[in-house]
């Protein structure tokens, strides 16, 4: 108990003794203010649950998500052995839902890596170098921004062929421009600060300044944006899956599951309803978390 008190005092100190101490202290205070936001915590725990579900899928799933049993098809909710019923091929919906969380996290994770990194690269280079590099890069960004996202993603998938990886690529291609904008704006303010001039005088090159001194400062605003974007990414991926352009059967991707259940919607409503609830819950969780994170990391924009 006393030890915990000491830790708290150490973390909440006004006079940090080292760089790491200061960083941990800032992190802890951010966590405290984040924890006070009930809705954000709800989102946070839903996502933790999702993560656990994805990791422990083989342990949690009561059945094989691919095992068909035509004699047992379209069982209703709460039936014996199948809590959430079965689909048109007699597969256990709960198990498919649990395995599907892996696909959702996989897609979201990849897009959340590719899009912000691309945007960070383009934005910081454009912002730091300025001149015609800036002109060309930002023009390209504007062109991508001016496109209808879903339609463009559709066209990309059409050309590349359906599949999870191509869906990820298509969504990333349409998602990076806002990050480039943010990164560029941040870079422009950082570029003119004194400490950058100091490093320049020490002889640091553009590459070193961008990677070591500008990137770290752009991260927090990008993280907020990514979290707020996650819901959109999930919805886009589910939309592509629903159209048959994302994950292919028999993969238990949630959007594809809805599309499958759509054929029986009037008589066997749960087949399409359950995966939709899952998508809604997860994207809601990301929105809640994103709002909370924004309040902590980027207070000037909160309450909008």
């Amino acid at each position: 108990m006393a030890e915990a008190q000491n830790w708290r005092a150490w973390l909440l100190t006004d006079t940090p003794t080292s760089r790491r101490h200061a960083r941990l202290s800032a992190l802890y205070q951010g966590w405290l203010s984040f924890r006070g936001n009930t809705m954000a915590m709800v989102g946070f725990w839903i996502l933790i649950l999702l993560g656990v579900m994805a990791i422990a899928a083989p342990l949690l799933a009561p059945h094989d998500p691919f095992a068909q049993n035509l004699g047992n098809r379209l069982q209703p909710l709460g039936s014996e052995e199948h809590l959430l019923g079965t689909d048109s091929l007699g597969r256990d919906i709960l198990s498919r839902l649990i395995y599907g969380s892996r696909i959702t996290l996989y897609i979201v994770g990849l897009v959340a890596l590719i899009a912000p990194i691309t945007g960070l690269l383009v934005g910081t280079v454009a912002g730091y170098l300025g001149g015609w590099t800036d002109q060309v890069l930002m023009r390209i960004t504007d062109i991508f921004l001016a496109f209808p996202r879903l339609v463009l993603a559709l066209a990309f998938v059409a050309a590349l062929g359906a599949g999870i990886e191509n869906a990820v690529l298509a969504i990333s291609l349409t998602a990076w421009p806002p990050y480039a904008r943010i990164a560029r704006a941040e870079t422009l303010t950082i570029r003119s600060s004194d400490y950058i001039s100091a490093i320049q005088l020490q002889g640091a090159g553009a590459l070193r300044i961008i990677t070591k001194h500008i990137w770290p400062l752009c991260i927090s605003s990008l993280i907020v944006r990514v979290t707020l974007d996650m819901a959109g990414i999930i919805l886009a991926a589910a939309g592509l899956g629903f159209l048959g352009l994302g994950a292919q059967p028999p993969s238990p991707e949630w959007g594809a599951m809805i599309s499958e259940g759509r054929r029986f919607i009037l008589d066997h409503w749960w087949v399409a309803t359950v995966p939709g609830m899952a998508i809604f819950t997860v994207s809601l969780a990301f929105n809640l978390l994103g709002d909370g994170l924004r309040d902590v990391l980027d207070p000037k924009d909160s309450d909008k």
Binding site: I140, P148, L150, L243, F280
Partner: protein
């Protein structure tokens, strides 16, 4: 975003002259953006894996047939020339022939576009009528239960997969309650009864004074339009709220209150008046998003609009149709963006 650009230079010039300059600058950026859009669709349609020649001549074609088609499509010329030809075709409204319908893509689009326009327009009207007052009230009664309700409505809107909500709507209001018409634009007995003048069936049936068709069409459109309306409501109400909050915290509002002005006059005559231009920008943007967002909605409701057209073409590798559809949607999207941009520059004195 253009909202943040407050240009202070050239304040002494006549507003009209400035505006004309803005128009030219904007036109330039439209041209560049359009060229970019066409280049992307060109790359997707011509250079990527699907072989356009095979799509036309089929797998079994002989080498000579293949080569003839290859040359006819101009694929033996340099890429840049091909791109130039493509741009020229698009400018002339020629998107090539659809493999699926065997008609020119431009004609197909002309036929399906009004259906999407009708749906999106009703959607955005619903979004404005409900979203703007909700946003204003949420801002004025900030922190109360109304504000919380508005917040939840928006949050759910941002998090809900539209195609799923559409399915649930069909299940409840069509399947269980039977309050609305099912998928499609009209019931099977009313198909092709009114002469297509505008292509928008509600308008056409009014012009034809055929009230049975009108009623039936209304019962079919109400659900998909409300669905799209909900999404624009979520966006419009949030934006309205944040614009209003910004105005209400300004000093001139305090002054007005101190002068003893009634609260409704403060809200509507002062604060709201100042956010009108910003609001129009938001509405134009949400209209553009709805035109695009109707893709999934159209699939759910078997709505014969441009979203259904693109998706059907896509699933049968009808690349001309996909590219034509993408260019048209992109063009509308860009034009709406530009329109709101210009409007903003023209009407908002702060932007001059």
């Amino acid at each position: 975003m253009a909202l943040a650009e407050h240009k202070t230079e050239g304040r002494h010039r006549a507003p009209l002259e400035l505006w004309i300059r803005a128009v030219f600058v904007t036109l330039g950026s439209v041209v560049v953006t359009m060229l970019g859009l066409m280049f992307l669709t060109f790359v997707i349609g011509r250079v990527m894996p699907i072989d356009p020649v095979l799509a036309i001549v089929g797998e079994q074609a002989s080498k000579s047939t293949y080569d003839a088609a290859y040359e006819q499509l101009g694929l033996d010329r340099p890429i840049i020339v091909q791109f130039g030809l493509y741009v020229w075709d698009v400018i002339n409204g020629d998107f090539g022939k659809s493999l699926l319908t065997a008609r020119p893509v431009a004609e197909d689009i002309k036929r399906v576009f009004p259906a999407t326009l009708e749906l999106a327009t009703l959607g955005v009207i619903a979004g404005i009528v409900l979203g703007v007052p909700l946003g204003v009230v949420a801002a004025v009664k900030r922190g109360t239960w109304i504000d919380q309700v508005a917040r939840v409505i928006a949050l759910v809107g941002y998090s809900m997969p539209i195609f799923w909500l559409g399915l649930m709507g069909l299940l409840v209001f069509y399947g269980i309650l039977g309050w609305v018409g099912g998928p499609g634009r009209v019931g099977i007995f009313y198909v092709d009864i009114v002469p297509p003048v505008t292509g928008m069936i509600l308008v056409d049936s009014i012009l034809d004074r055929n009230w049975d068709v009108f009623k039936d069409a209304l019962s079919h459109i109400v659900l998909p339009a409300s669905l799209l309306g909900y999404y624009s409501l979520a966006y419009i109400s949030r934006m309205t709220r944040s614009f209003m909050l910004e105005q209400l915290s300004a000093e001139y509002i305090t002054t007005a209150r101190v002068k003893g002005m009634s609260e409704s006059a403060v809200i509507w005559r002062h604060a709201f008046k100042n956010i009108r231009v910003q609001l129009i920008t938001v509405i134009a943007l949400s209209y553009a998003t709805l035109l695009e967002g109707s893709v999934l909605t159209e699939i759910i409701f078997s709505w014969p609009g441009i979203g259904s057209y693109i998706t059907t073409a896509l699933l049968s590798a009808d690349m001309n149709a996909v590219m034509g559809g993408t260019v048209v949607v992109g063009l509308v999207f860009i034009l709406l963006n530009i329109f709101s941009d210009l409007l903003y520059k023209f009407f908002d004195p702060r932007a001059k």
